[in-house]
Amino acid sequence: MQTLRMALKSIGSNKLRALLTMLGIIIGVMALVILVSLVKGATGSVTDSISDLGSNMLTVTVSDNKGNPVGLDDLVTWMADPKIGEAACYSKESMTAKYSGTSETADVYGISPYYDKIQALNLLLGRFIKSSDVTNHTYVCVINETMATELIGYTDCIGQEISLGGVKFTVVGIIEDSDTSLTRAFSKDSYVAYIPYTSLVRMSDSLTLEVTSFYISAPENGSMTEAEDRMTQILMARFEDDDDAFSVSKQDALESTMSSVTSALTILLGGIAAISLIVGGIGIMNIMLVTVTERTREIGIRKAIGARKRYIMRQFLLEAVVLCMMGCAIGIALSWVTLKVIGIVVSSLSISFNMDITVILIAVGFCFLIGVIFGLYPANKAANMKPIDALHYGG
């Protein structure tokens, strides 16, 4: 307590210097809090709209099959489970689609039946890929509206033959373009063709019949959580209780990409801000060293009248930490104001820029650490002064 009062007093005795020293920390904290809050606010609103699009399915990926690969028949078995709705595997490749001289690049999905149900695809004409198509690896395809109109020229093109990756496919169905489904919301203007999974396996060099990623849905009126739990249970039993061998996630691939992008962005920006905080810390160390030299005499007096090393150490360390924490508090307050102002300026965007409590905690923790780390050396220097030398310093 006594030490704290002295630290405050000594900081207060040179306000301008204290403020200038703190400036580094203030700017660092502001950079950290504002940048991270902005990224979080912006991505928060994007992720919200993404998860609105596809939250009724689970993505399962198998990374290590432990010699027990998942096959198409396994999906059928699992679908019989009362807690699991549909299951469908998928694999995507980019291929050249050709129709009488017109040639375009299309996303070709090798899928198993029920994919349309899980993805909530709406059939405009014809039929979707059936079990028999997959079993017999027939060369049939279902294409989207855009592809039909752009490549073939008209929508009602059932029975037409198109070439995908050099193999002839008969169009058996047309999928309606819509932006309510997640995947197609981002591929609305692209050409999409669905073919039997087995047919894609035949055309691909790398793909095998082993299923490494698939979607499952919850049964009608069933819960996603229960489906997730059941799927995890089944896979744990299959893969020797190794939860690293597979992942079951509610997030769609896109959403997880999105979140990994934002976390990378957060780390990047946070890192830059952290660098400025470290620079601020060096400023604190610099000033503390000056302070120690200036107050050599005082240290000598304190030691002469009986201050132990530890006490001197604590006094200077506390001063550095207090300086840092004051800078941190001012920085947080200013960031709050700045975020409010930004919020008002971009209020039309319906993005909320709120201060994130975790960022504040990180900032406070980081500032404390910087205070300690950069205060330690000057404090130690002060504590280790010889009382006689210190007393006679500068007269």
Partner: protein, 226 residues
Amino acid sequence: MGKMIELRNVCKNYSIGKEVIHALDHASLVINEGEFVSIIGPSGSGKSTLMNIIGCLDIADEGDYILDGIPIEDYTEDELADIRNEKIGFVFQNFNLISKLTAEENVELPLIYHKIKRGERDKRVEEALKRVGLEQRATHYPTELSGGQQQRVAIARALATKPSLILADEPTGNLDSQTTIEIMELFRDLHKQGNTIVLITHDNNVAMQAERSINILDGRLTEVAR
């Protein structure tokens, strides 16, 4: 009456380059409890070294130093700090008050280091300031006080811990003659009240006001005959 200070053949050498300076050369000295002793010598005579050793700011190279029954040997810096805090009240030529602290805070400082509780601390600070006649100036900063007043605050600070020994190093060196008389009066009062005082000075007039004077020259001590 017990011995407060006993120096036996104390040596302290400094080397400047290749030359070795014998700052103290087999110095022996006994000061009893309740004595008022002045140590007199010109600059460069080893006065400061003697003061540092008596004040436990430094350790002798050779010989023994016993302060109030405690042999001062190779203690750690922290142990020496505790001994200084408990046994010695320093009064310096240039007062050595901390300018950022008020008079009472300066006096309080050694008590904080001594881990004395707040209530007791306040009482002792008040007592000490009263004794030097500065109770009205408790909340003043050193810069708001005259030289004499600052030295009184320093004396109050030395008294606050109720030390065994008051060690004054040229306490009147920065003061005018009138103030010197006042401060010396204060020292004599303190002596009458039973304090042991060692006063180091180069001024004969000041030294003569002590009961006993010891001369120091080239690191050797001799009793001044009166």
